[in-house]
Amino acid sequence: MAALAMAEPRDADAPAPAASSAVGCRNLSVRFVTERRTVTALENVSFSVENGGFLSLLGPSGCGKSTLLRVVADLIAPSSGQMTVLGLSPQQARLQRALGFVFQDAALLPWRTALQNVELPLEVGGRPRLPAGMPTPRELLKLVGLEGWESSFPHELSGGMRQRVSIARALLGGPRLLLMDEPFGALDEITRDRLNEELRRIWRETGTTILFVTHSVYEALFLGEQVLVLAANPGRVAAQVDIDLPRDRTLAIRETPAFMRVATRLRAALGGTE
C-alpha cells in the first residue's frame, strides 16, 4: 500500500461494551492522505461478529478488507466511526493480547526455528506468562500438524508449513479473536484446500472468533459462518450473508447444491462491486 496511514491520537475510553459481539463496527471510515489525492479506503462500514463466530471478509482487491482487519488489530486508526473489539477499544484489546494476527506472507523470523517463532509472543510486549492450562508452543505446533518440525528453520519448510507455524504463533496465549489476512493466498490450491479444512477444525477445537480476509468466493463460503461482501472504490459493505451449512464441513460440501446456491448469491453480491 503506497498510502501513508496517519496515526491519530485517540482517547482510550472504550464505548459501552456490547457483551455478545466479538467485533462491533459502526459507521467506520478510513481515509488515507497520499501525495496525489486523498483515498477513501473504507466508507461508512458497519457490521458485527458474535463471540465464537467465523466471518469471512470477501471482496475484490482495493475494497479495503485488509484495511478493515488492520483497524480491528489497532494497526490503523479509523478516520471516523467506532470499532469495538471484545467490548474494548482496539488498542485495549491489543494491549491485553486478546488478538492473534496471521499475515499473508507468514512473517516468520528467518533466524528462528519453528518452535522459537511460535514462542516469540512470550518474549516481547510485557513478556506475558502463558496462562495456566493454555496450550504450550509445542502443543500448538502439534495442533497445526507440525509435530517433529520444531527445530526446522523457515527456509527448510514449505509455504504451507510456514503458514501453519504462523497460525500456531497467532494462537499462542489463547486469543479470543484471530485475524487472518489472506493467509493462504500465496499457496497452491491443494495445500490451500487442506489448510481450509484444518482451519475449520482448529476453529471448532479452540472456540476462538475468526475474521478471515479472502478474495476467493469458495474459500469465504467454505470457511465462514457468515460472509461480509465488500465493494471497492470506496470500500463499503455490499452484503452480509449468513451461511447455513452444517458446522462439520469437508471439502466435498463444495459440490452440494446448497453450497452452489450460496456461491451464486455471493457472486451476485460481488457482481455489483466493480
Binding site: F103, W111, E123
Partner: protein, 277 residues
C-alpha cells in the same frame, strides 16, 4: 547445483548410480585441479617472459627469485607484517564498531541521519591518499594515523550497509511486533539486529581487505616499518624481488583476514535471508 542423469534404457539402477558417482567425482576433481593449473600456467608464462626478454632483476624478478626471497627474507617480511596487521586489525575493529553504533543511532533518530549522513558521504568522497597526510599531521608519525585511516576506510561501507540492514525489515514482521505490543528496544534486539547481520557481514568482508589497504597506504606517507614502508624501501632500492615478496605477504594476510570473517559469518548467520525464498 544439483546434477541429474537420466538412466539409459540398457542399464540397471545400480550401474547407473555407480556411473553417476564416477561422473561426479571427476567433476569435483576438475573443479580443484583446473584453478591450480591456471596458476601454474601464469607462473610459467611469467618465468618464460623474464627469461626470454632477459628482463634485469631490478625491473622484474623471475618467480623463482621471488620464492627464494620469500624464504631468505622471511624474518624481515614477518617483522614488517606485524605492525601492518596490528594497524589493519585495530582499524577494522574501531571503524566497524563506530559504524555500528552510529547506524543504530541513525535508525532510532531519523533527524540525526538526515543531518549527518550527507557529511559522512562527503568525507568518504575524499580519496584515501588525500586523507592520509591530513591524519598524519593530526596524529603524528606513530601507529595512530595508520589505525585511523584503516578505520575510516572500514567505516563507510559498514555504516551504509548497517543502516540498510536495520531498516529493511519485513513490513509484516513490523506489524506483528506492533500487534504484540513490542517496545522499540524489543523491535531492535529481536528483529532489526538479526535482520542486519547478513548486511553487516557483507560490509565486514569488504573492510577485511580494505583495512589492510588503508594501513599500507598510511605507511607510505611516513613510516619506518610495516609492509607499506617495505614496499617504498624495496622500490627505491630497485629490489624488485623483495617488492614482489612483500606484495605476496600482504595479499596472503588480506586473504587470511577475509577467510576468518567468512568463517565467522558461517558460524553466526545460519539462516537464509527472508527474501531468498
Amino acid at each position: 547445483m544439483t546434477l541429474a542423469a537420466a538412466i539409459p534404457p540398457d542399464a540397471t539402477v545400480s550401474e547407473a548410480e555407480e556411473s553417476f558417482r564416477r561422473v561426479r567425482r571427476r567433476a569435483q576433481l576438475r573443479r580443484r585441479l583446473l584453478p591450480l593449473l591456471g596458476i601454474a600456467v601464469f607462473l610459467g608464462l611469467w618465468a618464460a617472459l623474464v627469461y626470454l626478454f632477459k628482463v634485469p632483476p631490478f625491473v622484474a624478478p623471475s618467480p623463482l627469485l621471488v620464492a627464494q626471497t620469500l624464504v631468505a627474507k622471511g624474518d624481515v617480511l614477518l617483522a614488517n607484517l606485524v605492525p601492518t596487521a596490528i594497524e589493519a586489525l585495530s582499524g577494522f575493529l574501531l571503524g566497524n564498531i563506530v559504524a555500528i553504533v552510529i547506524a543504530t543511532a541513525f535508525v532510532h533518530k531519523k533527524t540525526l541521519e538526515e543531518t549527518f549522513f550527507p557529511t559522512v558521504v562527503l568525507i568518504n568522497t575524499i580519496p584515501v591518499v588525500a586523507k592520509a597526510p591530513i591524519l598524519v599531521l593530526l596524529l603524528g608519525n606513530g601507529m595512530e594515523p595508520k589505525i585511523a585511516i584503516a578505520a575510516l576506510i572500514c567505516f563507510f561501507p559498514t555504516l551504509v550497509n548497517m543502516v540498510r540492514g536495520l531498516e529493511a525489515v519485513n513490513p509484516q514482521a513490523m506489524e506483528l511486533m506492533r500487534v504484540l505490543s513490542a517496545s522499540k528496544r524489543q523491535v531492535f534486539f529481536k528483529l532489526r539486529l538479526y535482520n542486519s547481520l547478513p548486511y553487516l557481514f557483507s560490509a565486514l568482508k569488504i573492510s577485511a581487505s580494505t583495512s589492510v589497504v588503508g594501513a599500507i597506504v598510511a605507511e607510505w606517507i611516513g613510516s619506518n616499518s610495516g609492509i607499506g614502508a617495505l614496499i617504498i624501501q624495496a622500490t627505491y632500492s630497485f629490489d624488485s624481488a623483495l617488492l614482489y615478496a612483500t606484495v605476496i605477504v600482504a595479499s596472503c594476510f588480506s586473504m587470511l583476514f577475509f577467510l576468518c570473517v567468512t568463517m565467522l559469518e558461517r558460524l553466526i548467520v545460519r539462516w537464509q535471508p527472508s527474501n531468498a525464498h
